[in-house]
C-alpha cells in the first residue's frame, strides 16, 4: 500500500475549503438570479462579508499548488492557458460588481440589484469554467497530454462533460435553499439534489466506470443528507447552519480527491511524480502548519465576531439594535 502524499493532501484540503466557500457563493448566486427580492435578505448578509475570504482562499490554493507541483506549471500553462485567462476576466468582473454593489448609491439604470445579479452571473460563469477544468483534470476529456493542448470541442464531444457541469449546477440549485434556509422551497430540495447526484454519477460513469467505486458513496451520502435533513423541522436548523454546512461541503469536496489521486486525467499522469522534492518539502510542511494555525486563529476570530453579532441581534438591548441589519447568519 502506498504511503500518504501529504503534499497532495494539504493542497487538496485548501482546495476543498476554497471550493466549498465558492459553492456557497454560487448557491447564493443562483437564488439572487431566480428570486432576487426574496433571496436578498437571506443571501446578501452571508455573501457580502464572505466573498473576500473566498478570494483569499483561492489565492492560497494557487500558491500552494505552485509550491507543491513546480514541474506541472509549464504543462498547466500550455493546457489551460486560455481557460485560465477567461477565469481571470470573470474574477475581475465578480469582484468589481460586488464591490460596486455594496456601495452604490445611484438608483439609475445600474443599481444595487443589477450589480449583485452581475456578480451572480460572473460567479456562475466562474463555476462553469472551474467545472470544465476540473472535469478535464478528472477525466482527461478534451485533453491531449502528448501535445499539451486542451480542446473545448473535444471536451464537449465527450457525453460525460455536459452532464458533469449540469449535475453540479443541479446539486447547487437543490442545496441552495438548504444553505440559505429557504423553507418555502423545502419540498424541492431533496428531489432536485438526488437528480443532481444521479446526473453527476452518470457523468462519471460515462467518463470511466471505475470512477463509480465505493468511494463515491461518501460524497453521495454527504450531498443528499443535508437535503434529507432539511425536510424535518427539527433537523433543518442544523443543516442550515452555515458553519455546519460549510464543513460538510469541505468534506464532500475532499472526499472526491480519489478522482485525481493517485492518478489524474483518467490515469494520464501519476500525481506523486509531479510533487516537489528536496528541502522544499520541509519548507512546505513548516509553512503549512504555521500558516494553518495562523489562518485557523483568524477564522476563529471571525466566527467569534459573527457569533457576537448574532447574539447582539437576538438581544433586545437598544445598543444592539443597530447591529441587526448587517448581521449575517454564520
Amino acid at each position: 500500500m502506498s504511503t500518504i502524499n501529504w503534499l497532495f493532501e494539504v493542497n487538496f484540503v485548501i482546495f476543498s475549503v476554497f471550493l466549498a466557500l465558492f459553492l456557497t457563493e454560487l448557491m447564493g448566486g443562483v437564488l439572487l438570479l431566480l428570486a432576487y427580492d426574496r433571496a436578498k435578505a437571506k443571501v446578501l448578509p452571508y455573501i457580502v462579508p464572505i466573498w473576500e475570504v473566498t478570494g483569499t482562499f483561492a489565492a492560497f490554493w494557487v500558491v500552494t499548488s505552485d509550491f507543491a507541483y513546480p514541474n506541472m506549471l509549464i504543462p498547466v500553462a500550455d493546457l489551460f492557458g486560455g481557460l485560465i485567462v477567461v477565469f481571470l476576466i470573470l474574477i475581475v468582473a465578480r469582484n468589481a460588481s460586488i464591490s460596486f454593489a455594496e456601495l452604490i448609491t445611484k438608483r439609475g439604470w445600474v443599481d444595487e440589484r443589477k450589480l449583485y445579479q452581475a456578480y451572480a452571473i460572473a460567479t456562475l460563469l466562474i463555476g462553469v469554467v472551474v467545472l470544465v477544468a476540473l472535469s478535464a483534470i478528472v477525466s482527461g476529456a478534451g485533453v491531449d497530454l502528448s501535445n499539451l493542448s486542451f480542446s473545448l470541442g473535444s471536451w464537449l464531444a465527450n457525453p460525460g462533460s455536459a452532464l458533469y457541469v449540469l449535475g453540479a449546477v443541479v446539486i447547487a440549485v437543490g442545496l441552495a435553499p438548504v444553505f440559505y434556509g429557504f423553507e418555502e422551497l423545502r419540498r424541492l430540495t431533496l428531489p432536485v439534489t438526488v437528480v443532481g447526484v444521479l446526473v453527476e454519477a452518470g457523468a462519471l460513469y460515462l467518463y470511466a466506470s471505475s470512477f463509480l467505486s465505493a468511494y463515491f458513496l461518501i460524497p453521495t451520502v454527504l450531498t443528499i443528507l443535508p437535503a434529507l435533513l432539511f425536510q424535518s423541522r427539527q433537523t433543518a436548523p442544523i443543516v442550515s447552519h452555515k458553519l455546519v454546512f460549510a464543513v460538510v461541503a469541505v468534506v464532500i469536496v475532499f472526499s472526491l480527491s480519489y478522482l485525481v489521486y493517485p492518478t489524474a486525467f483518467n490515469g494520464g499522469i501519476t500525481v506523486d511524480a509531479w510533487t516537489t522534492t528536496g528541502p522544499m518539502v520541509g519548507a512546505y510542511y513548516v509553512l503549512s502548519v504555521v500558516g494553518a494555525l495562523f489562518v485557523g486563529l483568524l477564522m476563529a476570530l471571525y466566527l467569534a465576531v459573527v457569533q457576537r453579532s448574532l447574539q447582539a441581534r437576538t438581544s433586545p438591548s437598544p445598543s444592539s439594535a443597530s447591529v441587526a441589519p448587517n448581521s449575517p447568519n454564520p
Binding site: A59, F60, I89, L103, A283, L298
Partner: protein, 451 residues
C-alpha cells in the same frame, strides 16, 4: 504584422502590474490614513476625524475588492505567461515568500471584514483603532513580501546557480535564503517609502481639490484636517524616499552595475564622471545631454563607476531607463520642493489650502507622484532586461509561447482600461455618498453597505 507571443506576454503582464500598483498604492495609502484618523479620533474625540474615518472606509472597501481581483490576476498570470520563471520560483525558496504573503493577505482580509462589516460591535474608540492596525500591517507586509520576490529577481540566491546554468537542474536549495538577498533591505526600504507616499498624495490631492469645490463649512473643515495628515505623512515619506533612493543607487552600483551604467548612461567606466542628464546614445557617443562635471562621483560616493562598454551590448537593458530614471529624479525633486513649500506656508499660518493655485498644484503633484512611482518601477524592470532573473534566466526562456492567451489577454487589457479609471471615479463618489452632516452625526465604525 504579427506580435511575437513572448512580447505580448511581457506587455500583458507589464500592463496588468502597472495598473495593479495604482490601485494598490491607493489601498495602502487609505489603510495608513484610516489608521491615523482612527487614532486621532480616539485621542481627540474630534467628530471630524470620526466622519473622516467613516468616509475613508468606503473607498477602501472598493480598492480592496478590485485590488484583490487584480492580485489574483497577477498571481495566475505569472504562471500562465511566465511558466518557466514560476517553475524556478516554485523549486526554490521564492515560493515560500509567496506562501507567507498569503498569510499577510489573510490578516488584512479578516480584519478588514471585521472592521467594516462588524465594526458596530466594537464601541471603544481605541478598540476600533486597534482593528485598523492589523489591516495596515497586513497591507504593508504584502507589499514587503512581493518586493522580496523582486529583490530576488534582481539578486538571485538560495540555490546553486552555477549548476543550474550548466545543467538546468535546481540543486543546493535553501528554502529561506530568498527572504534576504543582498538587495532585499534596499528595495524594501525604498518601496515602503514610495508606495505609501503615492497613495497618500492621491488622497491629499483629492482633499485639496474637494476643499475648493465644497461650500459647506463642515466639509471644508474635514478636508483641511485630512490635508494636514496627508501633508505631514507625505513630508516624512518624501524624506524617506530620498534616503532610500540614494541607498538604492548604492545597491545597484554593487549588485547590478550594468543597470547602474545604463541608468547613468555611462558609456565607459571611469573616475569622477559627469552626471549625464537626459540625452541619448548615438553609436558610442552621448548626444543631447546636459553634463554636470564631477557630480556622479560625488553622488555615487565611489571613485570608479561602471560603464556600458564593460558588457556585451546584447546584455544591455533598453537605454530608455536613463530617461525614465532622470525624469523620475527630476519630478521627485519638484515634488519634494512643492511639499516643503506647502508645509512651510502652513507652518507660517499662510493657509496654503485656501489658495486655489496651490490646490491645483496639489492635484498636479498627485499625478506627478504617480508618474514618479511608475517610472521607478519601469526603471527597475526594464533595467533588468533581457533577464527575468538577473544573469540566470531571460524573459524569453521564462515566457509561455501559448498563443491561446492572445485574445483573452486583449480582453483583460480592455477590462483594465475601463476598470481602473472607473474604480477611481467610483471611490471618489462613495467617499461623499452621504452628507457631511450624516457622517458627522454617525458613528465612525464601519460603512453603509447595501444589503
Amino acid at each position: 504584422m504579427s506580435i511575437p507571443i513572448v512580447d505580448f506576454d511581457r506587455f500583458l503582464f507589464a500592463f496588468t502590474i502597472g495598473s495593479h500598483i495604482l490601485i494598490v498604492s491607493l489601498s495602502i495609502g487609505l489603510a495608513i490614513m484610516l489608521c491615523a484618523v482612527e487614532f486621532l479620533s480616539a485621542r481627540s474625540k474630534d467628530r471630524y476625524y470620526g466622519a473622516l474615518a467613516r468616509r475613508l472606509v468606503r473607498p477602501f472597501v472598493v480598492s480592496f475588492g478590485i485590488g484583490t481581483a487584480s492580485g489574483i490576476v497577477m498571481a495566475v498570470e505569472l504562471v500562465n505567461l511566465f511558466p518557466g520563471f514560476m517553475t524556478l520560483v516554485s523549486k526554490t525558496g521564492v515560493i515560500s515568500i509567496f506562501y507567507v504573503e498569503i498569510f499577510a493577505f489573510f490578516l488584512e482580509t479578516v480584519f478588514l471584514v471585521v472592521y467594516v462589516y462588524y465594526g458596530k460591535l466594537f464601541h471603544g474608540r481605541y478598540t476600533r483603532w486597534l482593528l485598523t492596525l492589523p489591516i495596515v500591517i497586513g497591507t504593508l507586509l504584502s507589499a514587503v513580501l512581493i518586493v522580496m520576490v523582486n529583490a530576488w529577481m534582481n539578486t538571485p540566491n538560495g540555490f546553486d546557480i552555477g549548476t543550474y546554468l550548466a545543467t538546468g537542474a535546481v540543486t543546493g536549495v535553501d528554502p529561506w535564503a530568498p527572504f534576504l538577498t543582498p538587495s532585499t533591505g534596499y528595495e524594501v526600504f525604498h518601496v515602503l517609502a514610495t508606495v505609501p507616499l503615492t497613495g497618500i498624495m492621491m488622497i491629499g490631492g483629492f482633499f485639496a481639490y474637494r476643499y475648493h469645490k465644497s461650500s459647506n463649512p463642515d466639509e471644508r473643515t474635514l478636508f483641511v484636517k485630512g490635508l494636514r495628515i496627508t501633508v505631514a505623512l507625505s513630508l516624512v515619506l518624501v524624506v524617506l524616499t530620498v534616503i532610500s533612493g540614494v541607498l538604492q543607487i548604492e545597491n545597484l552600483y554593487r549588485y547590478q552595475p550594468l543597470k547602474y551604467a545604463a541608468m547613468e548612461l555611462n558609456v565607459n567606466p571611469g573616475t569622477n564622471l559627469p552626471e549625464t542628464v537626459f540625452g541619448w546614445l548615438n553609436g558610442t557617443t552621448v548626444v543631447g545631454a546636459i553634463q554636470i562635471p564631477g557630480l556622479q562621483g560625488i553622488l555615487s560616493d565611489h571613485a570608479n563607476v561602471p560603464g556600458l562598454s564593460q558588457y556585451p551590448s546584447s546584455d544591455w537593458p533598453p537605454l530608455i531607463i536613463h530617461d525614465t530614471f532622470d525624469t523620475m529624479v527630476l519630478l521627485g525633486v519638484l515634488l519634494g520642493l512643492f511639499l516643503f513649500g506647502y508645509a512651510g506656508l502652513w507652518v507660517l499660518k499662510r493657509r496654503p489650502f485656501d489658495r486655489r493655485f496651490l490646490a491645483w498644484g496639489f492635484v498636479v503633484f498627485t499625478v506627478v507622484t504617480t508618474v514618479v512611482m511608475e517610472l521607478g518601477w519601469m526603471t527597475d524592470e526594464l533595467g533588468r532586461q533581457p533577464w527575468i532573473v538577473y544573469n540566470v534566466m531571460t524573459v524569453s526562456q521564462a515566457a509561455s509561447t501559448n498563443s491561446d492567451l492572445f485574445y483573452p489577454g486583449l480582453v483583460i487589457i480592455a477590462a483594465y482600461i475601463f476598470l481602473v479609471p472607473f474604480t477611481f471615479w467610483f471611490m471618489a463618489r462613495v467617499f461623499r455618498s452621504k452628507s457631511i452632516e450624516a457622517d458627522l452625526a454617525g458613528p465612525t465604525e464601519g460603512t453603509d453597505v447595501n444589503y
